[in-house]
């Protein structure tokens, strides 16, 4: 009974994740698609926690839901006329895409089953203790260099995002004029 409940949680979470992701893929409305992504991310966070990765789950909620998704929504708001949706075609090369989806699914799913993964025989009983402390220790010992590099990367992303998004009206106008004259 307990095991069944255990499984049921997984299936529900998986359904939320895949269903909302599919909605994102096929929905005609951009804003709705973005919001359905919220469920995907939450579902994934739940799956992570279900799989014993509590720290990653929390990070997922904070960064993805709190950061990336908000960013995406801002992007949607900035660039889309929200009310005037629906007349424009949203997709392209749909037939090929679906063909790709089906064929690749048939090709990749067998990989999950035929590969002799070295799975622990009694995985279910692996102690579900908090992973926060081992991750913290790992980040400051073995993974110290990647940790530092990640900080450099964030710095660069910060600078880069600012540089690109910050308008330089004078330069832009001038350059645009030049560009059209070059054409």
């Amino acid at each position: 009974m307990d095991a069944l409940l255990h499984s049921l949680v997984f299936y529900i979470l998986a359904f939320i994740v895949l269903g909302s992701a599919a909605y994102t893929a096929f929905s005609a409305n951009l804003v709705r698609a973005a919001f359905s992504l919220l469920f995907t991310f939450f579902g994934l966070a739940g799956l992570y926690i279900y799989l014993g990765a509590d720290f990653v789950g929390i990070s997922q909620v904070i960064i993805y839901v709190g950061g990336i998704l908000v960013l995406l929504l801002f992007g949607v708001m900035f660039t889309t006329n929200v009310s005037g949706q629906g007349t424009e075609k949203q997709t392209l090369q749909m037939k090929w895409g679906i063909l790709f989806l089906v064929v690749l699914f048939l090709l990749l799913i067998p990989i999950a089953f035929i590969t002799p993964w070295s799975v622990m025989p009694d995985a279910g009983s692996k102690a579900l203790e908090s992973s926060v402390s081992p991750i913290g220790v790992g980040l400051l010992t073995k993974y110290l260099l990647p940790f530092e590099i990640a900080s450099l990367l964030l710095l660069i992303a910060l600078i880069g995002a600012v540089v690109i998004a910050r308008g330089e009206p004078k330069v832009r106008a001038e350059a645009a004029k030049e560009d059209t004259s070059a054409l």
């Binding site: 893929a25 699914f105 790992g138």
Partner: protein, 103 residues
């Protein structure tokens, strides 16, 4: 039926393919970014699932996943900045209309 590694893999592969599918078929640049996020999340799900089911006791998979999340955030920031710059320039984020360079 007890949940095993295979179940997780099926979810992650589906998620991955949906992400790639979005990237290929959506005209809107921001949706393409959503697709990329799905791909990264699929990989993360893989990492977490393997970390859970493989016989090691370390947390390498989780640490990998943490890094991936950080990277995804950075990449999303940069990509969105570029998309916004494109919108200023072309007044559209439909990627098929932004194809002045070809052949």
């Amino acid at each position: 039926m007890a949940v095993g590694l295979e179940h997780c893999l099926v979810v992650s592969i589906s998620l991955f393919l949906l992400g790639v599918f979005i990237v290929m078929t959506q005209r809107n640049g921001i949706r393409v970014l959503m697709g990329i996020e799905l791909i990264l999340n699929a990989a993360n799900l893989n990492l977490i699932a393997f970390n859970r089911f493989l016989p090691n006791t370390d947390v390498n998979g989780s640490i990998f996943a943490v890094f991936v999340i950080i990277l995804a955030a950075a990449e999303a920031a940069v990509a969105l900045a570029i998309v916004l710059a494109i919108y200023q320039q072309f007044s559209t984020v439909n990627l098929d209309e932004i194809s002045s360079m070809k052949h």
